[in-house]
């Protein structure tokens, strides 16, 4: 069985209110030396029937375009593992 690990992150330059708020909170909690924080999504998709890694990858990339990522503001990265 193959499994795809998908990272969805905001395109650079797009405002990340969540990351900004987390950054503030961490500093408020007294963690020293926190620079920028960015928040994205991590999605795991199981592909029980797929054997071919490169096919799996392009299939999950299609899923990203169709649904998982909002490509207007987000980038995606797909990695396929066993």
């Amino acid at each position: 069985m193959l499994k795809a690990k998908v990272h969805i992150t905001l395109k650079s330059g797009v405002l990340d209110p969540q990351g900004k708020a987390v950054e503030h909170a961490l500093i408020g909690l007294g963690f020293p030396g926190v620079g920028g924080v960015r928040q994205g999504k991590y999605i795991e998709v199981d592909l029980p029937e797929q054997r071919d890694k490169s096919k799996a990858k392009s299939q999950v990339e299609d899923m990203c375009k169709a649904l998982l990522a909002n490509t207007v503001i987000e980038n995606y990265n797909v990695e396929v593992v066993d």
Binding site: V22, L29, Q39
Partner: protein
């Protein structure tokens, strides 16, 4: 009764619940800014609804770790009552004052509507003016109200009679159809062990005035005033 409402950045039901309290107490409610940790002795602390810190990261997470919540925990140990509504419920679970978590609604959407809840306990300062089995009509407004706890925790809550309210049909029957968010066992509100902390998703302050179409929530504030005065 001396009551205060804690105001976090992003709280937005703070004024509403302060006014509902005022109706019952007849005196102005103190508002406590989240950075003020030395507030006077109180009978009741309210952690209000809203979107503290924008609900970013996880609802309630950032507020739960603010200095004022450390003080709230100390007060709870001393017996001060805490009413935590909606985002307040999320905050106090994140802070560990109540068990479990409030997850994303199973329908994945924000839901604002009236629901019915059945009163499961009438022994607390909050619920003393209700009878067990009473059905209240009360609004909810949340995207993350899906109560989740592990099996042992749920068993403990039931065994200790710590479920305060359950979502139910108009006739009081606890059904899946009446569950607006997927909460386990239709849980809408729970107590801590000593019944001094109540966390609930529905907003009693939103129907505490007949002019706005109902006042089933009013008795909760009246009960607090009577018990804690």
């Amino acid at each position: 009764m001396k009551a205060a409402v804690i105001v976090f950045p992003g709280s937005n039901c703070d004024r509403d619940i302060a006014l509902a309290l005022e109706q019952s107490t007849g005196t102005p409610t103190t508002m406590v800014w989240h950075q003020d940790t030395d507030f006077p002795e109180l009978d009741l602390i309210v952690v209000p609804g809203g979107f503290s810190y924008g609900d970013y990261l996880r609802c309630g997470a950032m507020a739960a770790h603010s200095p004022v919540m450390r003080e709230v925990k100390r007060r709870v140990e001393k017996g001060t009552r805490v009413l935590a509504v909606c985002n307040g419920f999320q905050i106090v679970t994140e802070a560990g004052l109540l068990p479990g978590v409030l997850m994303r609604n199973r329908g994945l959407k924000y839901v604002c509507k009236d629901v019915h809840v059945r009163v499961e306990d009438s022994q607390s300062a909050f619920t003393a003016k209700y009878n067990i089995g009473d059905v209240l009509r009360i609004p909810i407004g949340h995207a993350e109200g899906n109560y989740f706890a592990d099996h042992e925790t749920l068993q403990m809550l039931e065994a200790e009679g710590r479920v305060a309210f359950r979502y139910c049909a108009l006739d009081g029957e606890v059904t899946d159809d009446a569950n607006p968010n997927g909460s386990q066992r239709n849980i809408a509100g729970i107590f801590n062990k000593s019944r001094t902390v109540l966390g609930m998703m529905p907003h009693p302050e939103r129907l505490a005035d007949a002019k706005l179409g109902g006042n089933d929530g009013r008795a909760l504030f009246d009960a607090l005033v009577e018990t804690l005065a």
